[in-house]
């Protein structure tokens, strides 16, 4: 197995070598064994090779397996590399005897061979994979520079920095912090007024109070919902070839409401996995179960509904295990997992939990739940009051009429999960090679033996599974969730592979910190806002993001946090920020998806309707990106260019690319041009001098004022553009008004066009597209 690029980072992040030379199993040995040996000598009995006849093959993933007798000798004789067949075979010169076999394409480096040999010499100790051991909240480590500390996070970050002889950066200036934390918490830049209020707040806890205002804003829920919707693979269409539109936006709104109400994460979990099984389930708890109705439905003629119902159940099992437990469970759909202790049979035991709901790849998406939207609720209340007011001698005709009116109110529908009646329950069988038609032994609901058990006597249903996911004994969920929050705030997870915590994932950069954060989540009873607040109020977060000489070379990904985070905006933030800065952004929340302008593609979906849409008008053209209609076969192009996924399946981590196509969007897409035009009008109205106008536009995009140099450069561009437009009045009119519309009467159009040019540059600055 080739070493991958991250080896370099692991080495960088590895604590200094200990005095004893025995390599660490967790950090140095298991990755080698996992990458190079487990495929044939791991958990999967069907693929296992070697070993004594009748032994079921040689296992190197367990201590017992590695020490079992072979036909002559033993794979690993602790303390005796010379008596260990493993050492002999990896150093073998005969290609027929060499391990791993040359034809596998996997080759150990001499460094790896040396490590394995030393490990055998040192006693060949095995330890359980770190993430399968329940975390214990460690004490805060000792540090020298105590006055730097603001909370527990900092002790771990600083301890690691001090160990390497590094020191953190000073705190970022207030305006940089204001923009950073506002974008991280709400996805929107602060308004100049909000930033100034924070800048001028002289109280000692000014920053914390600023954070609290952001956490309390409705934009917070929208921003964090967006991230959850990637995991939930939420989209407004059913997927596959014809990809018809699907009404399921009630789920999106539920997620926004849940974040804004600061619903504890365990409750949020129970509702989405099994809200329908909660006693007296509310509208919201039923809507929540649409989480697993975001799977795709195939309406293509000639398809077998059972095949695609099965595909949806597979997706639910995989998504659940990935989102909550960071486990690449999907591998076990076809065979016993090659790296992690999950058998083929155990896969179908989890599958069984999801295999008994009523939905069955139907075109009508049934079962649906209908509920009244906010607009209808006052009307219903009024009619219900009238009904109640009929008093002791009700007029039956009048009462019936009122009831009919109430029932006739237009309902919003959302596909939900509902269990089958006991008599209709499906039998779950192991599917050979993941083929839904190749059925083997029957299995019942259960969880993999490597994890904590289900509570005794609990009913075997989704609710029990949901409780198991957020059980205090679950070693993975609190770590996986804490890691995901960390990734959102700091740009990279403590475990960089936030989607994979198993043997093939990367090791955490700060293992004790991760366990401490997982412990905090439990201690705080899954209080999400409190947890995010903990992260953003740390000194580690509040550092300047300036790179000191040598640090790029040493830690290009800023994993050690010797400076503050600086990462590119998500696709949604790029759009929302441009609209916010220009004043075009609508803050209308919730409701059916909207269709912001995009060019016609003149294409239809296969066997389906046209993919072009009629643009929304009025404020719906300028809503936050998360309300954009998400059609899986043709997602909104300007968002996908900035790495938004198509949401066909659960997306655990987005790329953060930097491409020329992105430049074309923010320079030329009419949406961004309109934003530049609106920003230019704001700039001209804000001040009486050119310098004042430039300053205002700059602050709207970047919160901070420009430096003298930046201001000069913008003014120089304005003058160049003005001269250019003065001799081209037609171009000036077009550039200043298409598509935004006519400028106020009396506006000097060449000047407005010149400021539009400046605004277009402001919206494209590197700093605008990044958190600073």
């Amino acid at each position: 197995m080739k070493p991958h690029a991250l080896t370099a980072i692991c080495v960088l992040l590895a604590p200094p070598a200990q005095a004893a030379d025995t390599p660490d199993f967790q950090r140095e040995i298991r990755p080698i064994l996992s990458n190079s040996c487990y495929k044939c000598h791991g958990p999967d009995a069907a693929e296992r090779k070697g070993g004594k006849d009748g032994s079921g093959g040689l296992r190197l993933d367990t201590e017992a397996g590695a020490r079992a007798a072979l036909d002559g000798g033993v794979a690993i004789a602790p303390g005796h590399p010379d008596k260990s067949e493993l050492v002999a075979r990896i150093k073998e010169s005969d290609p027929d005897e060499l391990m791993p076999p040359p034809k596998s394409g996997v080759k150990l480096t001499s460094h790896e061979i040396g490590l394995l040999e030393q490990w055998v010499r040192g006693g060949a100790k095995y330890v359980k994979h770190w993430s399968y051991v329940k975390p214990r909240q460690p004490p805060l480590p000792e540090v020298t520079n105590k006055q730097w500390l603001r909370n527990g996070v900092d002790s771990f970050i600083l301890a690691r920095l001090e160990k390497d002889g590094l020191s953190p950066q000073p705190e970022a200036d207030r305006l940089a912090l204001a923009r950073r934390v506002a974008l991280d918490l709400t996805g929107l830049p602060p308004s100049p007024e909000e930033a100034d209020a924070f800048l001028n707040d002289q109280t000692p806890d000014a920053y914390e109070r600023f954070v609290d205002r952001l956490l309390a804003s409705s934009a917070y829920g929208e921003h964090w919902a967006r991230q959850w919707l990637d995991l939930a693979r939420y989209a407004d269409s059913a997927g596959y070839a014809d990809d018809p539109l699907r009404q399921i936006w009630g789920f999106r709104d539920y997620v926004i409401r849940s974040f804004n109400a600061n619903k504890p994460f365990d409750q949020f979990t129970l509702e989405q996995i099994a809200g329908d099984l909660l006693p007296n389930a509310t509208d919201d708890q039923l809507i929540a179960t649409a989480f697993h109705r975001n799977t795709m439905t195939n309406n293509e003629g000639g398809t077998n509904d059972e095949e695609f119902r099965n595909a949806a159940v597979v997706d639910r099992a995989n998504t659940t295990m990935s989102v909550w437990m960071g486990t690449s469970f999907a591998c076990a759909q076809c065979h016993t997992h090659k790296y992690d202790p999950i058998t083929h049979q155990e896969y179908f035991q989890i599958f069984a939990f999801f295999n008994n709901t009523q939905d069955a790849d139907r075109k009508d998406e049934s079962p649906l739940h209908g509920y009244l939207g906010e607009e209808q609720q006052p009307q219903r209340a009024q009619w219900e009051a009238q009904l109640a007011g009929l008093g002791a001698t009700p007029d039956p005709q009048k009462a019936a009429a009122l009831r009919k009116q109430i029932d006739g109110l237009a309902k919003i529908t959302v596909p939900i999960q509902r269990d089958l009646a006991p008599a209709q329950r499906r039998k779950t069988q192991v599917q050979l090679r993941g083929n839904y038609q190749a059925l083997a032994e029957e299995v019942t609901e259960g969880v993999p033996a490597a994890f904590h058990p289900l509570p005794e006597g609990a009913p075997m249903n989704r609710l029990t599974l949901a409780r198991w996911l957020v059980d205090e004994a679950n070693p993975l969920t609190p770590r996986v969730i804490a890691n995901r929050f960390w990734e959102s705030i700091f740009g990279t997870g403590i475990v960089r592979t936030s989607e994979e915590f198993g043997a093939q994932g990367e090791l955490p950069s700060h293992p004790e910190l991760l366990d401490w954060l997982a412990g905090e989540l439990l201690r705080e009873k899954w209080d999400v806002k409190k947890h995010i607040r903990l992260l953003v109020t740390s000194a580690a977060y509040r550092q300047s993001s300036k790179v000191t000489p040598g640090m790029n070379e040493r830690d290009p990904g800023n994993r050690l946090l010797a400076r503050g985070p600086r990462i590119r905006h998500s696709a949604e933030m790029v759009r929302d920020q441009a609209l916010a800065a220009s004043g075009l952004l609508s803050r209308k929340m919730f409701g059916p998806p909207v269709r912001p302008p995009q060019p016609n593609l003149n294409l239809s979906a296969a066997f389906g309707g046209g993919l072009d849409w009629k643009n929304s008008t009025g404020e719906d053209a300028h809503r936050r990106a998360l309300y954009t209609e998400w059609r899986r076969t043709a997602p909104y192009a300007s968002l996908t260019t900035f790495d938004a996924p198509n949401r066909e399946v659960c997306t655990l981590r987005r790329n953060q690319s930097n491409t020329p196509l992105q430049a074309l969007v923010t320079l030329n897409d009419p949406v961004y041009l309109e934003a530049a035009q609106a920003l230019a009008r704001r700039m001209m109205a804000s001040a009486s001098t050119a310098a004042g106008m430039a300053d205002h536009g700059f602050r709207r995009c970047l919160t901070r004022p420009p430096t003298a140099l930046e201001s000069q450069r913008l003014l120089a561009l304005h003058d160049e553009a003005l001269a250019w437009f003065k001799s081209r009045p037609d171009k000036a009119t077009a550039f200043a008004t298409l598509p935004l519309g006519a400028a106020p009467a009396g506006t000097d159009l060449p000047d407005l066009a010149a400021w539009t040019t400046v605004a277009n540059v402001l919206l494209n600055m590197d700093e605008t597209l990044m958190k600073r």
Binding site: Y240, S545, L603, E767
Partner: protein, 483 residues
């Protein structure tokens, strides 16, 4: 000299050594992504910078012509006289046992081709009268009559063909190619998709999607009408001169930012804006077929301003000529069920082919004439074949159609290291099963990767803890058809 220059150079060099020392493409790409945060010189670590494959390639570029829907191979390439003889007889039961078909149940009736077949070229390749323009290129192509797939519905079959898996989420063949090879022209995308006949293929954008590979390897959908690449045109009122001035100002501001904070990402962004500026000229130019001489337009049957398959064939040649690695054409309308007269294997097929076989033949001749065919691989085909019997729903009507058939189909390859004038593989006398030289779609993928210079088992990318590849855990190179 820039204060960070030395440092960044060192970083670049280190990234380069690390990735080439062990030829791990996973490492290169991951490194390129990391290095994106770590280099002042994007050209040196640009994930799209040209790279050498595992060994000397026979094909340097690919044009894949996909007929979305599944062309009726029994009426084009796979001539079955016995089937003609037994036309109208019930299908022998052994061929139906354990099989499921998309739209056919019960006992269907065999249907011999109504088309006239003859042998063409020195290799005596059988072709029907549906493809008159293919007759003249018989000596350039290798027809594989023993293709098969696992999927009998369009979406999963197309996904399997182009991403190696019947479900969404995997990278497409073109993305794997640009991931492995980078791009030769830094002013154009390395992988371009062109769609004709007004409808997306069933597999949707996933067919040129990047799956879990970094998004820079995504196929760029170019259009022959309107902006060829989204937002490549300057808005009304802006022109090249003023755009240059604005980008100069933007660069100065970004450089100031970089001096202050020292983030290499900023340098990358400066470079990407410059590339975008160049693309604004180079893309419309390469996409403008009106620059072609009238004779060439006539050969292809292309008309500037159309969104036709013929235009896309000509565009493909222009793109390949400029260094684009992988051009993927999707043409809709090949699903010959017989539900309407356009789906009739007699007149319907002739009509569809009139707009199709000529540009394909023109493309192959054009590539050959320009000396590009030797190292350009051309592939023509669908996602599956069609049944040797009449489709169930339409069997009572006057329109002749066939159902989806995964067990056997035909496609052809040309150029790029493939033997020319060869007919490869055979189906049984009625066309129900392959009797020799079976080629699974994974084998086709392995072969395409091989021609591009890759061991398909080693072109991998680590995602969620596993090393993935185009051919999943399957695929054998079809060596018999290689030069």
């Amino acid at each position: 000299m820039h204060p960070h220059f030395d440092l960044l150079q060192a970083q670049t060099r280190r990234a380069f050594l690390r990735s080439t020392g062990q030829f791990s493409l996973g490492a290169i790409a991951a490194q390129a992504l990391l290095a994106r945060d770590a280099s002042a010189s994007p050209a040196a670590v640009n994930p799209l910078a040209p790279r050498m494959p595992h060994y000397a390639p026979k094909a340097k570029r690919v044009v894949y012509l996909h007929m979305s829907g599944g062309p009726p191979h029994l009426d084009i390439f796979d001539y079955k006289p016995e089937l003609v003889k037994r036309d109208g007889q019930p299908v022998p039961e052994q061929f139906l046992k354990g099989k499921t078909f998309a739209f056919t149940t019960g006992l269907p009736k065999l249907m011999g081709t109504p088309r006239q077949f003859a042998q063409h070229g020195q290799g005596g390749i059988w072709m029907s009268d549906a493809v008159p323009n293919f007759h003249g290129i018989a000596d350039e192509i290798c027809v594989v009559k023993s293709m098969f797939t696992d999927q009998f519905n369009h979406t999963p079959a197309e996904l399997l063909l182009f991403t190696g898996s019947p479900r969404q989420g995997r990278p497409s063949m073109g993305s794997w190619t640009t991931y492995g090879l980078g791009s030769e022209n830094e002013n154009l995308p390395g992988f371009v998709a062109l769609v004709s006949s007004g409808t997306q293929p069933s597999g949707g954008q996933s067919l040129w999607g990047t799956g879990f590979l970094p998004s820079v390897f995504q196929g760029v959908q170019c259009r022959s009408k309107g902006d060829p690449v989204l937002y490549v045109s300057d808005p009304a009122g802006m022109d090249r001169e003023l755009r240059r001035k604005t980008l100069d100002a933007l660069r100065d501001l970004n450089e100031a930012q970089q001096r202050e904070l020292g983030h290499p990402e900023t340098a990358t962004r400066i470079a990407q804006y410059e590339l975008a500026f160049r693309m604004q000229t180079s893309v419309p130019e390469v996409m403008d077929i009106s620059l072609e001489p009238p004779g060439v337009l006539a050969d292809y049957g292309a008309k500037p301003g159309d969104a036709s398959f013929a235009n896309n064939c000509l565009l493909a040649r222009r793109l390949l000529e400029k260094g684009v690695r992988f051009v993927q054409l999707f043409d809709w309308g090949w699903d010959f069920h017989g539900t309407n007269k356009n789906e009739d294997i007699r007149d319907g097929l002739s009509a569809k082919m009139r707009a199709s076989d000529r540009p394909v033949a023109a493309l192959i001749r054009d590539l050959k004439q320009r000396g590009l065919l030797d190292d350009t691989l051309v592939v023509w085909g669908g996602e599956f074949g069609r049944t040797p019997f009449r489709e169930g729903r339409t069997s009572g009507g006057g329109v002749l159609g066939r159902d989806h058939f995964p067990d056997a189909f035909s496609l052809f390859l040309a150029g790029g290291g493939v033997k020319a004038g060869l007919s490869y593989g055979e189906t049984d006398e009625l066309g129900f099963s392959i009797i020799e030289k079976k080629v699974h779609v994974h084998d086709l993928q392995a072969t395409i990767m091989h021609l591009l210079g890759f061991n398909h088992e080693k072109l991998t990318y680590r995602f969620q803890g596993r090393d993935f590849r185009l051919t999943d855990v399957h695929g054998h190179v079809v060596r018999d058809i290689l030069l």
